[in-house]
Symmetry: C2
Subunit: 334 residues, 2 copies
Amino acid sequence: MSAATKIRVAQLGLGPIGLETLKLAATKPWAEVVGALEIDPAKCGRDLGELTGLESLRGAKVYARGDELLKVGKPDVILHTSVSKFAEAFEQIVPLVEHGVNVVSSCEELVFPQLREPKLAAQLDDLCRAHRARVVGAGVNPGFVMDLLPLCLTSVVCGIRAIHIERVVNASTRRGPLQKKIGAGLAPEQFRPLLERGNAGHAGLRESLGLMAHGLSWQIDRLAEKADVIIADHPIRTRHFAVEPGQVCGIRQRVEATTRDSIVLTLGIQMCLDAIDPHDSIRVDGNPPLNVRIEGGIAGDEATVASLVNTIPRLLQASPGLRLLTDLALPRMG
Amino acid sequence: MSAATKIRVAQLGLGPIGLETLKLAATKPWAEVVGALEIDPAKCGRDLGELTGLESLRGAKVYARGDELLKVGKPDVILHTSVSKFAEAFEQIVPLVEHGVNVVSSCEELVFPQLREPKLAAQLDDLCRAHRARVVGAGVNPGFVMDLLPLCLTSVVCGIRAIHIERVVNASTRRGPLQKKIGAGLAPEQFRPLLERGNAGHAGLRESLGLMAHGLSWQIDRLAEKADVIIADHPIRTRHFAVEPGQVCGIRQRVEATTRDSIVLTLGIQMCLDAIDPHDSIRVDGNPPLNVRIEGGIAGDEATVASLVNTIPRLLQASPGLRLLTDLALPRMG
């Protein structure tokens, strides 16, 4: 592919995921990395070749503000990896969308933004259409294991009565921020309120449910959500935390829903240190019944990074607007 | 949905799969079954309500010829379940396409018709565009387990080195025609030539490989295909066959390919009577590695029937032409 037809990619957010996303994008023959946006003053003005160690990125810079990046050259798409709440992503994304820049975001709520922020979602959709830009939220979970993948599986089933999805993640092998998010090392009474207010734990269980139901044109009738902490029964040492017995070592979250047609949907996630038997499982109770198991689970930052970068070519084929993953072409490596 | 906006569906081929496909289509709120085509004189002229036992199909008839069906009312889409070879399907499909009728076919070679019949495929594509019709081949295998599903999984992986797909089907639980297709009860020297000429066994392994490689824009560089019989070591009785030790009880087929970028792809299928541990497995050797197992496998006519009917709404959204499943929207229950 000639440089003239390459997709011009920039990165917003240079945390660990953002840096890896940028590095993967740089390896794609269809992509040209043109710069990055980051509020951390220690990174602003620096060279991306130096920050990532990739020779091919030398010359591309980190900017503090969108207008500086746009002045250097308008990217076709921004990889946005900075926040989990749609309302916060909205503020960061809108100035880019107003310049016709497309956005693939790791923001969990953006996987189904109509759920918590229908007005903001409609507003962003209008802006996207007016400026001929596209925005989509993507990722592994939400974005694949508990929504896109089960949706694909329903294509070979008649008469579905229930879908049960379970995910067990061994957080011991993951990076520090994830271990912090599941309360590692905190006292249960200190962490529970954070979890109950949705300020910790896994974000996106209801978004996955919403995207799946939307993709199947199912109306959710009843919904119950629970979250609880897992307490360590032995001392656990990770690279980032030391957890004593009686302290929190993980979380368990679950959503149970019933559709208007009495189809039962359950989504459960357990993320804890020293988790035994990590896996993803999807069981479809239908004709035929399906029993799918992903040994070890689809975990790790590499999967997240891949899902974001691989979404770019499919997003650019879609019509302008605030898009859902169910609006895009078949998921695949781009 | 009002009757006026329903998708008018007809069936071509009233074998066991065709009848079930028709019955499933009849349950969909978006579909109206308008008739069927079948060459068997014993079925021509009969009422579909009577043939299927479904009250809702009373009044829809079986016709011997396409022009008779078209005179009664043009269907929007034909479910085509009659042959495995694209060249034969072509003859049956063209007169329908020339009237602008869309086709979802179970024809295995139609899942990737460019493989064996590139000229015929180009000709059908031209006809489709000229008459604003769409044709696609769909199914479970080829069409899902060994192509669409692995493609979806690649969306969360970077740096793929190999994809290994394995399918073990216990044919004892399947219908007679499938048991016949795997040579049940024949002498090995009698069945081997049939298998080697591609006149028996599983059709579609190279189509799955072709569709997957196409979906990933990978060029196949080297390809080796093998097929062998499985010999019964004990007497086996099914509802349809009695197999003695030394006779054929199944087949093993395998395709191994390497892409221009040295990525290894292997697709193996074993279908035999009394098969132990039936399952589908997909292993992606990449970052992260994926290890997906479908316990029991996606098997049974219900899965095939579902995959065909669920393809209809997605096909009608696509632009006219000879389409591949990779051209359609996200697979899901329609």
